[in-house]
């Protein structure tokens, strides 16, 4: 049997929270409980679905706390913006702490930004805060912007800004490279990692910043 206590079987989730099967499946359909959290594993009686324990319990607690005051579609925007990227936005990215003033040199447009765009900016801004040059920050933004689907299942994904040293005919220079990769990461010996961001953390920080008012 599984002794991994970071995971919780489905039946225990229902017992611990008191929700019904109807609710669990409805919330899954809406994207309130991300697909990626449903992990099928073999047990000695057959296949069983497990969830990451802390995440699922926290999410259900949030849903139960907020569901009487907000329609479910609104909850998706608050709790799981990655499920409805087009429906969540913010007109002033620099006002969000995960982006902040470091995001100023990274903006490519004005006005409304979608959730994936905000996450891309937050990645770039965080890279700048950790010592990346503005041009390198923009490289990170471009990379994440081009891959909005990665935000739906960001667990284990790292956004890496590296430098590769190149020497040709006596001229040595360093070229920046931005990579979205799954941990553990392997780069060749000529590369030096300048900044490494946990994409899941950034996604959570942006979610928190967006939903801050409502969550209190």
């Amino acid at each position: 049997m599984d002794t991994d206590d970071t995971m919780i079987p489905k039946k225990e989730v229902l017992h611990a929270t008191g929700i019904s099967y109807g609710q669990l499946y409805r919330w899954k359909r809406l994207g309130l409980i991300p697909e990626a959290w449903f992990v099928r594993r073999s047990t000695f009686t057959g296949q069983e679905t497990f969830f990451p324990r802390d995440k699922i319990l926290k999410r259900i607690e949030d849903i139960l706390r907020l569901k009487d005051d907000h329609p479910l579609e609104e909850l998706v925007r608050l709790l799981a913006p990655e499920a409805v990227p087009a429906a969540v936005g913010h007109p002033d990215p620099l006002a969000l702490p995960p982006i902040g003033k470091e995001g100023k040199g990274l903006l490519w447009k004005e006005g409304e930004h979608t959730f994936p765009e905000l996450v891309a900016l937050a990645c770039g801004a965080e890279a700048v805060r950790r010592g990346a040059l503005p041009a390198e920050g923009r490289l990170v933004v471009e990379l994440v912007r081009a891959l909005p689907d990665a935000l739906r299942a960001p667990t284990g994904l790292a956004v890496v800004l590296a430098e590769k040293g190149i020497e040709r005919e006596g001229i040595a220079f360093r070229a920046p490279v931005a990579v979205l990769a799954r941990e553990p990461l392997a780069l060749d010996g000529e590369c030096r990692v300048k900044v490494k961001l946990d994409l899941e953390r950034v996604v959570e920080e942006v979610q928190l910043a967006l939903g801050g008012g409502e969550r209190g």
Partner: protein, 243 residues
């Protein structure tokens, strides 16, 4: 601004793009992605990309090589979508296949083959189906007319009934021709989970629910229930657990 309308009668091919109404009578092909307020076809239609249609009607054969987003639609005959179908309301009669279906209301009569998940608010099926992944809906209502299967079924209310025989349904007729015997009305599924579950002619490893009724022709490995369990005489439940 109103988008332009287009009609094919006879045989024809149009470029993808945005249209008001697309009407096909005869045989029509659409090259590339198509977005239309209304899509109507009788005969044979093929979209060689993604389809987005507010209103959809097809009689005869419809094929889509990409994914289909349908506001409200009806298809009679053959309906095949290679990718995912998203819909608010879709009625399918005849033979239907897709990679996955998501949305509001799905009514299917005949046969339905889905490689991955069907996740809708309401699922009402009469006929035979094969679903490779999860079938989930607030309300799942199935009238079985032949051998069917799904990996998992989950929702609020789940009801599976064996349809009364001898109604002369086309599918029973076809199955008779192919197998030269009465089709077996049986659903094979690994797990069924619902707050209210009523089953007939179902073979499952595990059934979990609040109120569970196990009816005629069922063979269930284990039932876990929280409120009540009824097992019809002749139905087989190997293990019952309350809690």
């Amino acid at each position: 601004m109103a988008e332009r309308n287009i009609a094919i009668s006879g045989a024809g091919r149009i470029e993808g793009g945005r249209y008001g109404t697309v009407k096909i009578a005869g045989s029509g092909k659409v090259a590339g992605d198509l977005e239309a307020e209304e899509f109507r076809s009788s005969g044979s239609a093929k979209v060689e990309g993604d389809l987005k249609a507010g209103r959809f009607e097809s009689a005869g054969s419809f094929r889509c090589e990409g994914s289909a987003e349908i506001g409200e639609g009806e298809a009679a005959g053959s309906f095949r979508v290679k990718g995912l179908v998203r819909t608010q309301e879709l009625k399918l009669a005849g033979s239907a296949a897709a990679q996955g279906i998501r949305g509001g209301y799905l009514r299917a009569t005949g046969s339905l083959a889905v490689a991955e998940n069907v996740e809708v608010e309401r699922f009402w099926m009469t006929g035979v189906f094969g679903i490779g992944g999860l079938l989930s809906a607030d309300r799942v209502e199935v009238e079985l007319e032949g051998p069917s299967r799904a990996r998992e079924i989950g929702g609020e209310k789940i009801s599976v009934r064996a349809s009364p025989r001898g109604l002369g349904s086309f599918f029973i007729f076809a199955l008779r021709l192919v197998f030269d015997k009465e089709p077996v009305q049986k659903l094979v599924v690994d797990t069924v989970e619902g707050d209210e579950v009523e089953l007939e002619a179902t073979e499952a490893r595990l059934v979990r629910g609040g109120k569970v009724k196990v009816g005629l022709g069922c063979r269930i490995g284990r039932v876990e229930y929280s409120e009540s369990l009824e097992v019809a005489p002749g139905a087989k439940v190997e293990e019952e657990v309350k809690g």
